[in-house]
């Protein structure tokens, strides 16, 4: 279970406060959506979960399976099952996709005390997962994300997720920049990972994604706090009414 308790976050080297007492729990086996206007702190929450530098937790805590993770390095969190699919996946010139995937896969396996994959095992595994996500295997020989289209980058994120077999999946605007076919492929990839041992936090700006990845709960994030929580129908309401109600409250 993911428990975010009264989380206060500011930028480390500026006075800007972004999260102002965010509280939220996602039990294992559930998929929760976070919706909110631009600039409300959705990506900040995602980054703080993954352990990015530059953000300072001034109050509150984040527990994953009962253990506080806020002091952990990102790779330690990854080993504990945390995975963030980036809103803007990064390009790594000079590092081949396969090398990256293999290094990452074996690094987390090692920390999880699983045997490292041999080359044939790894190749079989990656080919299988890539095929399901409609990813051309040749693409993985190229440097990570370099020259990929927006949709290719998002699929590449989901492939990494499938390879690393995380237990807490955080997806930050995975739908942005996807056409309807790509959205279907990505959603199928995400849905395939749904299971009783996984918790998922799906961040999105639009309701559209939630037709494909149907959430158990929907939270509205505005002004650094969860303003409202409801079932999947809340997403539809928001689609009609927009966020004015909540941003109004913030102002």
């Amino acid at each position: 279970m993911l428990e975010i308790k009264n989380l206060h976050v500011k930028l480390a080297d500026e006075d800007k406060v972004i999260l102002k007492g965010l509280t939220l729990s996602v039990p294992k086996g559930e998929v929760h959506a976070i919706m909110g206007p631009n600039g409300s702190g959705k990506s900040t929450l995602a980054y703080v979960l993954a352990g990015r530098e530059g953000y300072e937790v001034t109050d509150g805590d984040i527990l994953w399976n009962g253990e506080s993770i806020i002091e952990m390095e990102p790779d330690e969190r990854a080993a504990k099952g945390v995975f963030l699919a980036f809103q803007y996946p990064m390009e790594i010139p000079g590092v081949a996709g396969l090398t990256f995937l293999r290094t990452a896969t074996n690094a987390v396996r090692k920390k999880r005390e699983l045997p490292e994959m041999t080359t044939p095992e790894f190749m079989k595994f990656v080919k299988e997962k890539a095929a399901k996500l409609n990813i051309d295997f040749e693409m993985l020989k190229r440097p990570v994300n370099v020259g990929f289209s927006g949709g290719e980058k998002k699929r590449s994120e989901i492939l990494q997720m499938a390879m690393l077999e995380p237990t807490l999946c955080v997806l930050d605007e995975t739908d942005s920049g996807l056409d309807i076919d790509a959205l279907k492929v990505v959603s199928d990839g995400v849905n395939a990972l749904r299971g009783p041992d996984r918790a998922m936090l799906v961040i999105t700006h639009y309701q559209r994604l939630l037709n494909h990845i149907v959430p158990d709960k929907v939270h509205v994030l505005a002004d650094g706090r969860i303003q409202k929580t409801g079932g999947k129908e809340l997403a539809l309401e928001l689609e009609k009414s927009g966020y004015a109600e909540f941003t109004g409250k913030a102002a």
């Binding site: 530098e53 790779d75 000079g94 990256f100 990452a104």
Partner: protein, 442 residues
């Protein structure tokens, strides 16, 4: 700066050339006098050497006031001069090449030990042996006026004890890389001169290797390569220098390109010594390409300087330079790329990029592009960056479970790999990649 101090101190007592000299310069003059009688070559070569040492005596070692040595002040940095090695050494090819190179490379290697050729190979003669009956093209090369411009080159002319003479026939396609490897004992100076002629339409890969393995003592070496490439030839020319702390390596390549030539030099420098890689390219024929790559990895107080002068004398030629360096500790790298486009050299296409990855706040990167363009219809550009490892990329990697140190290593390797990838020969590229990797983790 020491040299300058010596001038003012002694000026009042009547200044002579000798009095200008630093201790190192005096030692070089003395070394020449001690060895002059036994250095290889007949009367003509002896006269050439005598003229060179005379010119050296008046110029002295280049100081930072000499533009090409702005960041590599030999006058200030060369404090002592080691005795000239004139042979007597032994080394097999495998030792000379060092780790990372397989037997295939050793089988094609010409080896120089302590300044004299010890392992020959078909098609290559030793300059010391050839001098008595040197063909005209070799004699002409040795006397090339371009080489009297700089005192590091004069030094080589005065002192060279041997070198490789390589004459690749027109149309020849040499499949395997020709390796020229030089080793030396600790505590000695060596000076080698290689003279290479590549005939029209020929194809060859030439690899120069000079490596002092970890644990080696102080060594000094000068290596000057002259390469004349005839029309339509395709040449890959690689140099690997590995030096240890306190050592000095002065390298210079003088390349003359005919028309429709493809010349691809690649130079890699690793280690903690003081290294200078000079390279002058003259475009003498149209539609030729110079595609240069360099990778260096510096540690400790290592110093690696690549200074190029690319002279577009004729129209329709292309020059490319990519210099990449990773700097740790107090290491320093220098890239000077001077590109001259003569008034009639229209349609010249010249681009250069110099990039440093700074791993330490005490490292230093000096990059100086110099475009001298006298023609109007040309495309020339340059760029230079010095940056630390991108923390966002490190985060991306670590968020995938990759430990920080591994992530940094991967990013450093990929940075330098972009330059090494210019080497098309797979075996060479892999060997150079491993050498860079090992030297990064040193």
């Amino acid at each position: 700066m020491e040299g300058a101090a010596a001038v003012s101190e002694k000026a009042g007592r009547g200044m002579t050339v000798q009095m200008l000299s630093t201790k190192a310069e005096q030692a070089i003059l003395a070394s020449f006098e001690a060895n002059a009688a036994t250095l290889p070559g007949g009367a003509a070569v002896a006269a050439l050497r005598r003229a060179a040492i005379g010119a050296f005596a008046s110029k002295g070692l280049p100081s930072r006031r000499v533009e090409e040595f702005k960041y590599t002040d030999l006058k200030a940095n060369v404090k002592d001069v080691l005795p000239l090695a004139t042979g007597g050494g032994t080394s097999d090819a495998a030792t000379a090449l060092g780790a990372h190179f397989g037997p295939d490379f050793a089988a094609n290697a010409v080896v120089f030990a302590d300044g004299r050729g010890v392992a020959a190979k078909a098609g290559v003669t030793f300059l010391a042996d050839a001098l008595g009956k040197a063909p005209d093209w070799v004699s002409a090369a040795l006397a090339d006026a371009e080489l009297s411009a700089s005192s590091d080159l004069l030094l080589n002319t005065a002192l060279f004890t041997d070198g490789a003479v390589l004459d690749i026939a027109a149309g020849a396609e040499v499949a395997e890389p020709i390796v020229i490897a030089a080793t030396a004992k600790d505590g000695a100076m060596t000076a080698l001169r290689h003279v290479i002629r590549v005939g029209a339409g020929a194809k060859a890969t030439i690899v120069e290797i000079e490596r002092a393995p970890k644990g080696s003592g102080v060594r000094q070496s000068s290596a000057l390569t002259q390469i004349m490439i005839a029309d339509g030839a395709e040449v890959v020319h690689i140099k690997l220098v590995e030096t240890q702390k306190g050592s000095l390596h002065l390298s210079h390549w003088q390349a003359n390109l005919g028309a429709n030539v493809s010349y691809k030099p690649f130079q890699m420098t690793v280690g903690e010594g003081f290294v200078r890689n000079g390279l002058n390219v003259l475009f003498n024929g149209q539609h030729s390409t110079f595609d240069y790559g360099a990778a260096s990895v510096g540690h400790g107080t290592g110093h690696a300087d690549s200074s190029l002068i690319v002279d577009h004398k004729v129209p329709h030629c292309t020059s490319r330079e990519l210099f990449k360096t990773v700097l740790d500790g107090q290491a320093r790298a220098v890239f000077q790329g001077r590109v001259i486009v003569r008034p009639n050299a229209q349609k010249t296409d010249g681009k250069q990029m110099a990039q440093a990855l700074m791993l330490s706040p005490d490292a230093e990167f000096d990059s100086k592009p110099e475009l001298e363009i006298y023609a109007d219809d040309v495309v020339c550009g340059h760029g230079s960056t010095a940056a630390e490892i991108d923390p966002d990329l490190v985060f991306y990697c670590t968020s995938r479970g990759i430990p920080t140190a591994v992530a940094r290593g991967m990013l450093i390797e990929s940075f330098i790999g972009e330059a090494i990838d210019k080497v098309e020969h797979e075996g060479l590229r892999e060997a150079l990649g491993e050498i860079a990797r090992d030297s990064l983790t040193a």
